[in-house]
Amino acid sequence: MRCLEEKTMSSDKPQNKTFNWRTLNTIWEKITSFREATVVLIIIVIGFILSLCSPHFLTMDNLMSVTIGLSAEGIVVVGMTIALVSGGFDFSVGSVMALSGVIAGELYLLNVNIWLACGIALLVGMLFGLLNGFFIGRVGLNPFITTLAVMGIARGWSYVITQGSPISILGVSKSFTFIGQGKIIGLPFIVIVFLAIAIISDYMMRKSEPLRKVFYTGSNEKTAILSGIDTTTVKIGVYLFVATLASVAGILSMARFTVATPATGLGADVSMKSISAAVIGGVSLSGGEGTILGAVLGVILLNLINNGLILLNIPVYWQDLMNGVILICAVTLDHVSHKNRQKNLKGKKFKGV
């Protein structure tokens, strides 16, 4: 929540100068002009309804369990957002997640030190990112088919390694399980990692030059090339980053469950979910637009809905249906309000850094 307030302030600074002659209106304008406002509003409304409907919703334990649950997914969403902003996407995140866990687990069973094993797994994950980046950035293949193929390779490899059955690393050192199960001053480590990654990436997306280049590449690649941006390197960097984050998420998940499953991220379809979380948070599917903050809010919204359906005792057969209905409402609301906002801000279009 703290990070949310910071972002509100920072993203509104430019408008402050032009609107500072208003008073109460200004504050309202400030809130609504902030791109993620609608999602925040929807989260607040849903949170409010849920706390009325179920006494178990607004408890520290419940919110904490929701946060732990969305952390690994959230780390992947950060990467996916950057891929979407660059004008592509990455279907291989779930399989890279699975593969990293499987490689680390298998090496551990072969008596490799668990940290070294994780390092190797991370490198392999990054290699898959490079593979994506090479084919998309250098060869110029379509991200859809490239990441789909790489997904097959990564998933297939994890099946080959495990022969299909999950790897159990029970008995691994406490220092390793700490990264998935431990807590620092009451906050689970996995949540801290997620927040750190999200906050740093969000800041970088707004301020740092390399990540600004991702925006230019995504919004208009030709213009970006003409203005001297090496879009090939940008794309390779993007997919490398996405795969690294997916790897981290896979290793953290393994530490949390002390089991590495080759089917991780398959049943729940992490790539699809992270794309929808990002889009709910205002990230454009056609590239060049979006923030990490928005995507993180999107993933929070998705998980709150999920949590609510459980707390409210909705039968499993209804959950997908309800999820879909709520999602389409949320996205429509966001889309309409975004359009209105753009109408209001006509002539003050975002000019970049």
């Binding site: 419940n62 732990i68 022969q163």
Partner: protein, 341 residues
């Protein structure tokens, strides 16, 4: 219903075994060379029996095939394992068709999809190759028999295991299933019915969707533990959600207070039972599936089963259409026996 079914299938099975023995003896009279009374139960070493699976790399089938192989050894015939590597209908059908083209002595088949196998199974049966299905059936294909876990019964056993874990005081329990899988749904139904009818110390308060994913299952159980703080037990209809449930219980600081009954015996589950994070698991009779499949196929091929005169010509099935291969309850006491080498 289920019990009646079981009694019928067991009786039928015994009848056939006796019939098989009798025919074995009468066949013996026709055999000229050997004077060993076991001769009719020994096949030709060139006879090939195939086991065909999907996702053929996974550990689960290893139990089935080792039963198949062990039974095959008794008859001195050759057993071969093959199938489609991926979860892909086309791939498995192709694998089956290739096997049929080799004209084997018999095929034990597990069907990724019930309808996709109707045509190839019929073709094989018409060509005189006996086929039985195991684990996953294709009921309308005309296969001789299906040997698998009665999933509803497995759910009842899970209820029994959980009821015993919680003792007479019992308490509120939940189940985590994967609703898109019919076998998972049958397990939950059996679990629910058994609680309503027999294990009244338990109260099933909610059923969650684990999506076949550990992170999802953990999320679901975390939510359920919030919604129903008095939950004492969980039944997970498949192993992945069992792992997720164990993490959720740990994260809620309720280790030991919430008993988990999981399903199947992959190493993660067995390790968790050993360490106590999962109380029990329901193991399927995979070995028996393979072992009895082989027996049936051999008996069919060598016409050892003849409960009725001219059954083949008249299109009568000599085998029970369904054999429940049973389940075992895995607990800390017996967990060591379930590790595969």
């Amino acid at each position: 219903m289920n019990k009646v079914n079981k009694i019928i299938s067991v009786t039928v099975l015994i009848t056939f075994l006796v019939a098989a023995l009798l025919t074995g003896c009468s066949n013996f009279k026709n055999n000229d060379s050997s004077n060993d009374s076991k001769t009719s139960l020994v096949g030709d070493s060139n006879e090939e029996y195939y086991m065909v699976t999907f996702l053929s790399g996974i550990e689960y089938w290893k139990g089935c095939y080792s039963g198949f192989k062990d039974a095959g050894k008794l008859y001195g015939i050759k057993t071969i394992y093959t199938g489609g590597i991926q979860y892909d209908v086309n791939q498995e059908v192709t694998a089956l068709e290739q096997v049929i083209a080799k004209k084997p002595a018999g095929i034990a088949l597990t069907c990724i999809n019930p309808d996709a196998f109707k045509v190839p199974i019929k073709a094989a049966m018409d060509a005189g190759i006996p086929i039985v299905t195991f684990d996953s059936d294709s009921p309308d294909s005309g296969r001789y028999s299906f040997l698998g876990t009665g999933n509803k019964y497995a759910g009842e056993v899970a209820a029994k295991a959980l009821s015993e874990q919680l003792g007479p005081k019992g308490g509120e329990v939940v189940a985590i299933t994967n609703p898109i899988q019919l076998n998972n749904e049958e397990r939950v139904n059996g679990f629910r019915d058994a609680i309503n009818e027999t294990y009244k110390n338990l109260k099933l308060v909610q059923v969650g969707n684990g999506n076949g994913d550990q992170t999802e299952a953990a999320k679901v159980l975390s939510g359920l533990l919030q919604a129903h703080p008095d939950i004492k037990g969980v039944f997970c209809t498949e192993a992945t959600s069992g792992v997720g449930a164990a993490a959720a219980v740990k994260e809620a600081n309720k280790e030991g207070l919430v008993k988990i009954v999981s399903f199947d015996t992959d190493k993660g589950t067995l390790d968790a039972i050993k360490s106590g994070t999962i109380a029990t698991s329901i193991a399927q009779g995979t070995y028996v599936m393979g072992y009895q499949s082989m027996n049936f196929l051999f008996q069919l091929k060598h016409e050892l089963i003849n409960p009725l005169k001219d059954w083949k010509a008249k299109g009568i099935n000599p085998l029970p259409p369904f054999v429940d291969t049973g389940v075992y309850i895995v607990s800390k006491k017996n967990v060591d026996s379930f590790y595969t080498k």
